[in-house]
Amino acid sequence: MEFVGAVVGWFTDPVNWSGDDSIPIRLAEHLLLSVVPLVVALLIGLPLASWVGHTGRFAGLAVNVSNIGRAIPSLAIMALAAMLLNRWLVDIGLRREAGEISTMVAMAALAIPPIVTNAYVGISEVERELIEAARGMGMTGLQVLRRVEIPLALPVILAGVRTAAVQVVATATLGAVFGTGGLGRYIIDGIAQRKEEEVFAGALIVAALSIGTELAFAVIQRRAVSAGLRGQPTPAVREPAQVGLPNAGI
């Protein structure tokens, strides 16, 4: 009970609600640290997967790269990015931003595989007859992609986006190890300074943010699906191109 009191005390302490190390600032840092890599990963991943899914070219390669990506721990990718990029970033005058930038690069790289795998699987599994019917109606390749393949694959595509989003919020926490801001600071600094209530309180906020992200994207996913597709069972999950599960090492 004493510990619960300490955690409640931490949350109600005015020090934690104003200034550089306050909850609102850490939360804003965390969101920025998450949104930028997610957007970059979407801008790279979705066009790539659409092209691979539509043409069927390099499909094996895309799936294999994604599967290999699952075997590399996120923490290792982040450490490698920090060690390889930070010196160069300092050299070009970005000393203060180096940790943030190298972490975001690693996070974007980590978010691409779930986006690509799901979008590719979704698009490539649209039934051939539907595509042929669309072609027969005189649609061009791009029109088939935009009006038939993407809407039909949308539930699976969005499942990948949701996986990537939850994963990005999780890996942003690890950024604190590499000198970024964000909510991970409470956990990493709290462990170093043996402030257990701060560790616990920080972890609670991170957990709430992750679950909130998961739920928010679940709502988006449900809203964005075409009415004609609602109520249909989601495609079964198969191996080894696992759809809907995050990479190793969140």
Partner: protein
């Protein structure tokens, strides 16, 4: 790459790799036992399906570092118990789903035939349903194991880590790129070996599948 450093630290690297393997095996072993029990329970009481998957899904959404951090105040720092509780809880969502999918994939007429031959429910489970469900169960084990091998590295941040210790404490914190690369390659190799190992295990345990392939 600093090959001299690698040579000097082979013993330590081997020990850290062993730690990594032990932590992974513990999590997968305990996680499989719990998930098997939960799957059997859900099969008997269907209404538990939603709640159990919702709880394990929620746990799955919590970042590993946060889950470790939530447990440390109760277990103390550098706690293997905290690490294993978190690792096991991540395996449960994957494993329960695949145990259930495996059991659901057993054709009803096969179950009926087993009943007709006088199998007790336990005999039917062990001799008929589990063998048929095995490929889907092993698929779940593969994903769970690769995931846990990655997550074990994060326990470096609470003072454990296996190869994660090599990547972060020996590598990143001491500007030793060789250590980080060695730890990373070690973790990838473990994941690939475990994955291939499960594929082999599945082949050995389901010899009829191979016969069907060649036929």
């Amino acid at each position: 790459m600093d090959w001299a450093w690698l040579g000097r630290n082979l013993d330590d690297l081997a020990l850290r790799t062993l730690d990594h393997v032990v932590m992974t095996v513990l999590a997968i072993g305990i996680g499989s036992a719990i998930s098997f029990g939960l799957a059997l329970w859900i099969r008997r009481r269907r209404f538990l399906h939603g709640p159990i998957l919702a709880v394990s899904g929620t746990l799955y959404a919590i970042p590993s570092l946060a889950l470790f951090a939530l447990l440390i105040p109760f277990t103390g720092p550098q706690s293997l118990l905290a690490a294993e509780i978190a690792l096991v809880s991540y395996t449960i969502l994957i494993l329960v789903r695949n145990f259930l999918a495996g059991f659901d994939g057993v054709p009803p007429d096969v179950v009926e035939a087993a009943d007709g031959m006088g199998y007790t429910p336990a005999q039917r489970l062990w001799r008929v349903e589990l063998p048929i469900a095995l490929p889907v169960i092993v698929a779940g084990m593969r994903i769970a194991t690769v995931t846990v091998i990655g997550l074990v590295t994060v326990t470096a941040l609470i003072g454990l880590g296996g190869l994660g210790y090599v990547i972060i404490e020996l590598g990143y914190r001491r500007f030793n790129l060789t250590a980080t690369i060695a730890g990373t390659i070690g973790a990838i190799l473990l994941a690939v070996l475990a994955d291939r190992g499960f594929v082999l295990l599945q082949r050995v345990l389901t010899p009829w599948a191979a016969r069907r392939r060649t036929a």
